[in-house]
Symmetry: C2
Subunit: 196 residues, 2 copies
């Protein structure tokens, strides 16, 4: 399984936003929506072995997490607007800490980044994507979780948290890229490794 955790520092944690203003009023939710596209789309289908967790840390707080699971996903289209509608629907159905299913393959929970990472790290190798990380190579088919951030760097406390649970930092190329572009490169590196 390939998992991606994307931290949206100002992304709306309620469904009270407009689909016309996701780059503004929804706290750069657009960045996270492009990450969903990158995590799942192939030319002719959906990656069944992928999951993504959007960590919405913006108002009104506390943090909400929207999870997309490739093996169950339906109704996902590649454009930002329709994916934004799936996220909004999920947030409107949120019911506390339990994972609440809002549409096939999409669910939502109120829980912290720390809780999420602790759960995932119990069964998945966690890697922080970072400009000064080691090159990503030699990866096998194991369960791996990549942690990425939106247009802001992880806060020092967040980075410390990830480091305490992770197997290290990796980079995917010589230049620093947007989170959604990094996901494309991570998939490609793993696709190539899987082909041998």
């Amino acid at each position: 399984m390939r998992r991606f955790v994307v931290v949206g520092h100002k992304a709306s944690s309620s469904g009270d936003f407009k689909l016309d203003d996701m780059a503004g009023g929804a706290g750069r939710l657009d960045i996270l929506l492009r990450c969903v596209n990158s995590a799942f789309f192939l030319s002719h289908g959906i990656r069944k072995d992928a999951e993504i967790y959007l960590v919405l840390q913006g108002p009104p707080a506390p943090t909400a997490i929207v999870r997309f699971v490739g093996s169950d996903l339906k109704y996902l289209n590649p454009d930002e607007r329709s994916t934004g509608a799936l996220v909004r629907t999920a947030l409107l159905k949120m019911d506390g800490r339990e994972w609440t299913r809002s549409s096939p393959g999409v669910s939502v929970s109120r829980r912290s980044l720390g809780d999420l990472l602790a759960e995932l790290s119990a069964h998945s190798r966690m890697l922080l994507l970072k400009e000064d990380g080691a090159p990503l190579d030699g990866m096998g088919a194991e369960d791996v979780t990549f942690v990425l951030s939106d247009n802001q760097d992880l806060a020092p406390a967040e980075e410390e948290l990830v480091n305490s649970l992770s197997a290290g930092s990796v980079r995917l190329g010589p230049l620093s890229l947007h989170a959604d572009h990094c996901i494309i490169l991570a998939h490609n590196a793993l696709d190539r490794a899987a082909q041998g």
Copy 2:
């Protein structure tokens, strides 16, 4: 220079579309807008050595081409909606075959795919991105033009045209991907090659 030509078979060739319906009424313009994002964005800036040509072959015809030039670009944001607004503005200012500038780094012209490719191939190495192409490696810093298609394959006549002008077909990984994801991988391959 890295150039990308993306053929939008049904993408609106007039500015008469709604920003709320770019995946529908505008003929999958959303695909081309994501390609613009992929062509230019770095974490902390714009790729100055990149250009993209959106070939809009949908109604009302004839074909319109919107060109983005990285070295001159201003007002480009990563979300689909704002890039769609730049394309719409360009189309509304279109004035025949001459390139008409609509905003810094963005211009528009009524010309055919054939005319565009003939002009580019005079000074740029043209490569068709294709699932069964050769691996892209050994590329230097030369001027290169990648030709991609939207969610439809190139029509036989289009592929014949590209083949008559191109230096061959290349692929970027073991799986078939969306055009915007291919652009990310092409940039990464060239970024790595440039680093040596």
